[in-house]
């Protein structure tokens, strides 16, 4: 029961945040909206017993990523608001049409296509998947160890790339 209450509340929060990201005219507000979504989602993780992931979500996202965003926003400047009228012809209509189609399709499939998110055969009691540190770390460092190592490549790339992109600007600008 408590979970249902959480789900509704945080679900609304996440959606609200998401919508804010999309419609806010000022990037700052978008960032705030994103933050809201991140936090709500984090709570939903907790509600699903994914404690470690939730923690990481808060630390990495809300902490690092979003800060980075805000930093860049500040760098670029927030003074001018973006006006909402669409400059590209048809773009907005296309978007609306797509939205309608997608929602309609999703509704159709989920309601009438006897659609299951997960195969009933495999579902069991939820209690066992308790996302404690040990529970997550054990596969992370055994089965997934190569993937874990691969993230090193990813970060190297990120670093090298960022440097490469910023590097020459210094000399030229």
């Amino acid at each position: 029961m408590a979970e249902a209450f959480l789900f509704v509340l945080m679900g609304i929060g996440a959606l609200a945040g998401a919508v804010t990201v999309v419609i806010a005219r000022n990037p700052i507000y978008s960032a705030i909206g994103l933050l809201g979504t991140l936090l709500s989602v984090a709570v939903l993780y907790v509600a699903q017993l994914a404690h470690l992931v939730a923690a990481v979500q808060i630390i990495v996202y809300a902490g690092a990523v979003l800060t980075l965003f805000l930093f860049v926003i500040m760098l670029i400047g927030v003074d001018k608001d973006e006006n909402r009228d669409e400059t590209l012809p048809y773009q907005r209509w296309i978007v609306v049409a797509l939205a309608v189609v997608i929602v309609g399709f999703a509704a159709g499939v989920t309601l009438f296509g006897n659609f299951d998110w997960v195969p009933a055969a495999t579902t069991t009691l939820p209690e066992s998947t308790n996302g404690t540190i040990e529970a997550v770390a054990e596969p992370l460092f055994t089965d997934w160890v190569l993937a874990f190592e691969a993230t090193a490549l990813l970060l190297t790339i990120a670093a090298a790339g960022a440097i490469a992109l910023a590097h020459y600007r210094r000399r030229e600008v």
């Binding site: 249902a4 789900f7 679900g11 996440a14 959606l15 998401a18 990201v21 999309v22 990037p27 978008s30 994103l34 979504t37 991140l38 939903l44 699903q48 994914a50 470690l52 992931v53 979500q57 990495v60 996202y61 990523v65 980075l68 965003f69 860049v72 926003i73 760098l75 670029i76 973006e82 400059t87 773009q91 907005r92 978007v95 939205a99 997608i102 999703a106 299951d116 998110w117 997960v118 069991t124 939820p126 066992s128 998947t129 529970a135 997550v136 596969p139 992370l140 089965d143 997934w144 993937a147 993230t151 990813l154 970060l155 790339i157 990120a158 790339g161 960022a162 992109l165 910023a166 600007r169």
Partner: protein, 100 residues
């Protein structure tokens, strides 16, 4: 308990909003946030699926997606900054020299 399907439906909604936002907003930064939204939706899906499947791997996978997101952010923001340095604007609509 709440059926995981609801969580995933919520995730789907988030993903959709992110996708549409990407098409609506012309500010590169905001578009980029939309991508982050989508990745979050993916994470939520994975968690819920993992729970429903009674499988911890769903949660493990989320870590990697988080890392990817972070890496993307770094590079993406670098590109945006670079462009901003050049033309003092973050609007992607002004970048349409290459076409046809």
């Amino acid at each position: 308990m709440v059926d995981p399907g609801w969580y995933m439906a919520l995730a789907g909604a988030l993903f959709l909003i992110g996708a549409l936002g990407l098409l609506i907003r012309r500010n590169a930064l905001v578009m980029f946030m939309c991508i982050e939204l989508m990745l979050n939706a993916v994470n939520l899906t994975l968690i819920s699926a993992g729970r429903a499947l009674n499988d911890i791997n769903g949660q493990v996978a989320v870590f990697f997606i988080l890392v990817v997101a972070a890496a993307e952010v770094v590079v993406g923001l670098a590109i945006i900054v670079a462009i901003f340095r050049l033309r003092a604007s973050a609007s992607v609509d002004e970048l349409s020299e290459l076409k046809g």
